[in-house]
Symmetry: C4
Subunit: 244 residues, 4 copies
């Protein structure tokens, strides 16, 4: 199997894992940058992640146009989230847009910020900005990121961080590798629940800056970090795609 | 397949999706207005939604009487909810009555109103009234809507809105199309959970009037809006009914 | 099938439904009084409810002794809960002992009482006492009901009510029929969750005395009340036992 | 089947049960001490517990070195948790390290301690210390227990108790037998949820010292205590390993 085919297959596995682990549902999407072309990325056609297959993966220019001019299948309306982030951040190799339910309260809270409180999510970083589409686009939008102006504005808010919340909508996550993104995003809703439940009982302790930095220094594709990927792929019914 | 057979099949799919997505359980029901007869609607015989099939769909007059005078199967005791709404609201094409658990706290709260806080439920509208059966029928009812007087009173409370809560019982939702109803009702319990969890942490931001209106202007049967329907039908084991 | 065989089969169905609906887990048990002998009841041998079969049902005297003197299988340590209630309450035909998780907070709360807040649980009654084993048996017990003195003390606390909470342990429920018990007990954990979530948001409205009484007057074995039984039996994989 | 093979099979069953019951997920691990060599223990190779099989069980020295010098498979980075506890506590026969989500809020709370509040977890003991790796190893660790110094420090904190929480990470549990450990650990997350929910409503009653001691005196491998093990093994798809 050639490199590009292998990478697209990994993107299929990522779609399936994130759906099976309730990070994505009927909506939301995950992409991967082209390994040799910084100005292109791979993303499925408009389809629920749990049923994405190899043939559903499409190659895009950063502006959201399919590379194949004859491509005529339906496309995700919000694919500009991905292009916006890849354009601004050369270090990012994979992008997720999710509506994971337990993160949503933090997107609408006026007083509380999401913080890394458990070791598995230390590398989501200490500062997680909240993007409110109404700031630059007025208060009569559908909240959807439907063009490059929206996508670039979101990427500006994300800036150098790993994750940005989107008010009343969801979040975007920027991965160093596809496995890095999948592993941490499986644990982000858990981190959100733990923080909410700890707050119910009074004050809580978040990870320190030193601990967050130490987590960043772990190799995101070491065997321990890939244990989840292999197990979750089996859980999602795509274990046979791991070795092919 | 003729038009009526196709529509009844869509109603079967709606029953199965709403059950699989925990909007309906052993109880609750969903109906669809007849496409050519404003004074008739389709609703299953008395049966749990997860096991409804084509042959279970019955055609009713608005007063809850089956069109077929020989119909002798058990009927939902609360079918008057549907007739009440169709009678008052010519624009409504589908009606749901649900006891979805996470909406119930809002039906008994003395101080808090359910509000759209996430983009997917923006079109549930900014004002969601609470109907209390005791207001006009006294405090010794079973809380059930068992006749047209009950049904009309509930519809009066619903008025021009999309949704009315029913105190200590559940809610009614009025859809523009069956897909419109199914999509938003899958997300209503999630909206309720997000609001409760955000309130735990302090003040929260609901969708603005402009955002709610913008969501209403989206085509409820566009490909993006139908992505859920197709995926959820497969999840519910009735994907084969989609193309038949 | 003779009457007793049919009733024992219903008890198997009840075990399976209550397990599948998370009212019972590996532990907890449900019994049924003998239809012709007020002084006997049926209960499974010591086995998790999800795997109980016809041959596991044993006939007991009210004191917890098997009617068959040769019975040598392991018995539930807490079977005295059942005998205690049947002895005191001639009107009771079925008894459940459950540890359903969402009811447990109400068993240890110093300030809040469980109340019927949704229509489906109106007939759990307006007053639900809490039995604390330490009151009469000291503060060094295992909290288990392991003899008739414990069982009778619990039944005295239950008195004329439908349900008694057991501090730090679970609850006991007294049914008019096995279907009556199963239906309402499926909804009791939901009622508990709704009350907790409503309380989080401020004051709430419980059912009125008149509404509770109206719910009691519904026939517990009417077709509408049995819709759950039939559906849940199918969900639990024992639909084939319904018609046999 | 010889004794060692039988014990290793029990460890496989324990892995499967704890995964199926959500005490372990892709990460976390459970071990068992060698029955004749206090200085050795059994633990799986680096693998998600839900897919552990007989051939994955490895025999270790207490310092975390495999007994078989030719062993070259990946090992759990945090296996030193197990050796640390076995070294300090001769009475301990099985050790679990878990990240069970609902226990985590108690690991980061500044004001609230986890307490036994339900009868099934009485024998987790009245005092459950919280180990904070930063106390002795600084605030720039990954929070992982990756060497014997970490493992011994954790064991010192555990001291004579059954359970120690690990700040922002999880917990360690010390079992008298493998069944003892599995049974109580299935209920620990439930105990955590009940305590959180009861605290939401005001003050609550925990088990008394006398009740905790009474629970300790129950035989951890009596038929009633093993009812869970047998049922959960079937639920986890390894019922056939019980009798082999």
């Amino acid at each position: 199997m050639d490199e590009i085919t292998r990478l697209k297959r990994d993107l299929v596995i990522a779609n399936r894992i994130l759906a099976q682990q309730n990070v994505l549902d009927a909506y939301g999407h995950v992409s991967m940058r082209h390994p040799h072309r910084q100005d292109r990325y791979f993303l499925a056609r408009s389809l629920s992640p749990a049923i994405v297959e190899d043939s559903d993966i499409i190659e895009f220019h950063l502006d959201g146009t399919p590379v194949d001019a004859n491509e005529n299948r339906s496309l995700y309306l919000e694919r500009f989230i991905h292009g916006g982030v890849y354009e601004r951040r050369a270090d990012v190799k994979a992008v997720l847009h999710s509506h994971a339910e337990d993160v949503l309260p933090f997107t609408i809270s006026k007083s509380v910020r999401l913080r890394p409180v458990i070791h598995t999510t230390g590398d989501m970083g200490s500062d997680i900005p909240v993007w409110d589409i109404s700031r630059n686009f007025g208060d009569a939008t559908t909240l959807l990121v439907t063009n490059m102006a929206h996508g670039r504005d979101l990427a500006t808010c994300l800036d150098c961080h790993r994750m940005a919340l989107m008010r009343g909508h969801g979040f975007v996550f920027a991965g160093r590798t596809i496995n890095d993104l999948v592993r941490i995003c499986v644990y982000i809703p858990r981190n959100a629940r733990v923080q909410i439940n700890a707050m119910r009982m009074g004050e809580f302790i978040a990870l320190s800056e030193g601990e967050i930095n130490a987590r960043f220094e772990l190799d995101p594709d070491s065997p321990a970090m890939k244990r989840g990927w292999e197990f979750w792929a089996k859980e999602a019914g795509v274990g046979h795609l791991l070795d092919s």
